[in-house]
């Protein structure tokens, strides 16, 4: 807050007093009726304004701060007390995770809470807590890594329980983000990227994925995974939904579904459905129509947890940087790559479409075959409706919750 804003109440009071004095001075002469009337009006205004200033001054300094401006700047907001329509709209926008945040959930009625939970479970699958080994775990890798147990111990990571999207984010879902002004709301984007956001446009120069036109997806592609989005766009959309991108360990755990068979040893699947590449279950080079298909196709591709198309169709952005093998480093000069996983419709080799295979891409690349799915830790959600008196965090207005980002 600058100096003018800080003292604006005092300035306004001084201006009003000066105006009244001038009017009274003119009124004493009484040879101009309009001036008298003006003087009287000025005095009335001064009285009202003074009362207002005093009221403002009486506001306690420790009053709760309002959150930043709502994320949706373009659409007409629901009436302030119309919680029902606001919840409905957010559920339509697949923002169930945002409604279940602990800062927000206290505003929901029981039936709204139940409906939100149902949508969460319909759209996202629970990945249980446990360990996962990242990197190659097959026999060939043992030689490369110089002994499996130690190498596995080094790459063994613990994953906290989380929810992961059952399907990759579709064009239709991403349009909700674009339509809600996601590309204009700078709070969703990392500050270092603000200059680049203006350049994230579609084929017609409108904000949106690289292969859209006029700010919309092409007809007939609404259920296809959104592609042509950079890592930053994926991250911003996930934030808007109240979620985040999954880490490598989370993604691999959801796909491989590891089972610990000893203190160190783990059994992990090569593909979400088992150890063998069944080409009828994945949209890869030579096994599909040589193009991206809808997220609901290849229904037998599901992992144990019920997550679809983790292998094939489109690569998926991960939250982490791309890792080369422990003995290799980047040659310098290039910016760090972000990890992508799962293979795409044009992935040629079977060994590059396994759950463990990791590829990399520049975070600003907007490729034809890279999409994303979102995750959220269970610790960030309230899955039981709080009973009794609302806590302090429940005071947050629901209309403001749209600005709560991960």
């Amino acid at each position: 807050m600058n100096l003018m804003e800080k003292h604006q109440d005092k300035l306004r009071l001084a201006t009003i007093i000066l105006f009244c004095l001038l009017n009274i001075g003119f009124g004493l002469y009484a040879w101009q009726m309009p001036m008298l009337i003006g003087g009287a009006a000025g005095m009335v205004y001064a009285a009202v304004a003074t009362a207002g200033v005093l009221h403002h001054s009486a506001r306690p300094a420790e009053a709760p701060l309002t959150l930043s401006a709502p994320a949706i700047a373009t659409e007409q907001p629901a009436a302030p007390n119309d919680t029902e329509s606001l919840v409905r709209r957010m559920l339509t926008q697949s923002r169930h995770a945002l409604l279940l945040r602990k800062q927000v959930v206290g505003n929901l009625h029981e039936d709204q809470f139940q409906e939100t939970c149902e949508q969460l479970h319909a759209h996202m699958a629970l990945v249980p807590e446990g360990d996962v080994v990242l990197g190659k775990t097959d026999k060939d890798a043992e030689d490369e890594l110089g002994g499996l147990p130690s190498a596995m111990a080094e790459r063994r990571m613990h994953v906290n329980p989380l929810f992961l999207d059952r399907y990759t984010v579709t064009n239709r879902q991403y349009y909700e983000f674009v339509d809600a002004g996601g590309y204009r709301d700078m709070t969703l984007w990392e500050p270092k990227l603000w200059a680049a956001v203006l350049d994230l446009v579609d084929q017609t120069g409108q904000p949106g994925p690289a292969f859209w036109q006029n700010g919309r997806y092409l007809p007939g592609t609404e259920d296809l995974p959104v592609v042509g989005v950079s890592w930053y766009e994926a991250q911003a959309c996930a934030r808007w939904m109240g979620k985040r991108l999954p880490t490598d360990a989370e993604w691999v755990k959801a796909a491989c579904w590891p089972v610990a068979t000893g203190e160190v040893a783990m059994v992990q699947r090569r593909f979400p459905w088992g150890d063998g590449l069944d080409r009828s279950r994945a949209n890869l080079w030579g096994s599909g129509p040589n193009r991206i298909v809808a997220v609901t196709e290849f229904p037998t591709s599901a992992s144990v947890g019920g997550i679809y198309q983790m292998v094939g169709n489109v690569w998926e952005w991960s939250a982490n940087d791309f890792h080369l093998s422990p003995h290799q480093t980047y040659g310098g000069g290039d910016a760090p790559l972000k990890s992508i996983r799962g293979g795409a419709f044009d992935t040629y080799f079977d060994n590059q479409a396994t759950c463990q295979f990791e590829s990399g891409e520049y975070p600003l690349s907007r490729r034809h075959n890279i999409g994303f799915r979102c995750a959220i830790g269970t610790c960030d959600l309230v899955l039981d409706l709080p009973q009794g008196a609302p806590e302090d965090h429940a005071n947050v207005e629901l209309a403001e919750c749209e600005a709560v980002h991960a």
């Binding site: 290799q328 040659g331 040629y348 590829s359």
Partner: protein, 336 residues
């Protein structure tokens, strides 16, 4: 190098061994046991395979400067056609024709590029393959009453009829880019390259699109030199006439260049102006294509080995189309 094997003492077979065998590429006479042509160093296995055939296999030259992706293109082409034989079916003739496919695919699957092709002609890989083109023809008989009910429709009408064109044979060498340009600039340095440039029926000219898009003119100049040489070797003293040799100009690494894959001719007009003009003025049949094999690349620093470029994943695009176009030009009727 010669083959040493004990021959049975049969006069008829011994007589055969005295007859010279003409090199398939330069047509120089060689002894029967020679492994490589004594003049141009082409493998004599090509000549032996062509001996008993009625139609002589045609040669397609895969040309381009060093690093333009000739080895990767050729290896992937063979592998893709053998894995997905819907449109074209390819059968390698001889074990030596599978070597290039094997080394290329093995390296790419490990996320490595194949080793750089040596400038020694004897170490070059050759592909001699049979190709069957499949043409799908839908039955044109008028629909009968029964055809309204698919269950009762005669099988002949319900399914498309697949015609198999006669088999054609092609020979394609994987030459080193340095050797190609050396021969183009200094004739008679590599006799094998010269013979191939003269005798090839069609040309696949590969240029690195990523280099061109960065404003580097060297690939364009190299293409102009090669095209100039091709035209001179075909039309001796016939200035002004256009070459009848088909040229497919393929921009490789197109995944790294925005817009190249969608409009390769426009890319040529903008970034490879010299080659584009040369094609227009010097050749009757030419076409532009964009191809890519790798989905992403990065530089890798390996301890003790230095810095090298590695592919991050393999996503081939536009590999088969130029080859199909060449085949169409060579065999418009489907076969020899």
């Amino acid at each position: 190098m010669t083959l040493r094997a004990l021959q049975p003492m049969k006069s008829s077979e011994l007589a055969e061994w005295t007859l010279p065998v003409l090199c398939y590429v330069c047509e120089a006479a060689n002894s029967r046991e020679a492994e490589y042509c004594r003049r141009c160093s082409a493998p004599m296995a090509l000549a032996h395979q062509a001996l008993g055939q009625t139609a002589r296999p045609k040669m397609v030259a895969i040309l381009g400067p060093s690093g333009s992706g000739k080895t990767v293109y050729l290896g992937m082409l063979m592998d893709m056609l053998s894995r997905q034989p819907e449109r074209l079916q390819i059968v390698a003739r001889g074990a030596f024709s599978i070597g290039l496919q094997q080394t290329t695919v093995s390296a790419l699957a490990r996320c490595e590029f194949p080793a750089k092709t040596s400038t020694e002609p004897e170490s070059w890989n050759w592909m001699h393959c049979e190709i069957h083109r499949k043409e799908t023809v839908v039955a044109s008989e008028p629909p009968s009453f029964l055809s309204r009910f698919a269950r009762f429709t005669p099988r002949k009408q319900r399914t498309a009829v697949t015609n198999k064109s006669p088999c054609v044979e092609l020979v394609m060498p994987d030459m080193a880019g340095e050797a190609i340009l050396e021969e183009v600039e200094h004739p008679q340095t590599y006799l094998l390259v010269r013979s191939l440039l003269r005798n090839s029926s069609a040309v696949l000219l590969l240029l690195d699109a990523s280099e061109l898009s960065r404003g580097q003119r060297d690939p364009d100049f190299a293409a102009m030199k090669i095209l100039s040489c091709l035209k001179e070797l075909e039309i001796q003293g016939g200035a002004g006439r256009k070459s009848r040799r088909s040229v497919a100009l393929v921009f490789t690494k197109a995944d790294q260049v925005e817009g190249c894959r969608e409009n390769p001719e426009g890319f040529a007009d903008t970034y490879a102006t010299g080659a584009w003009q040369y094609c227009r003025q010097g050749f009757r049949d030419y076409a532009f294509f964009a191809a890519s094999v790798v989905g992403g690349c990065t530089w890798l620093e390996v301890r003790g080995e230095g810095r090298r470029r590695i592919p991050l994943r393999i996503e081939p695009h536009g590999i088969i189309e130029p080859f199909e176009w060449i085949l169409e030009k060579l065999y418009p009727q489907g076969g020899p």
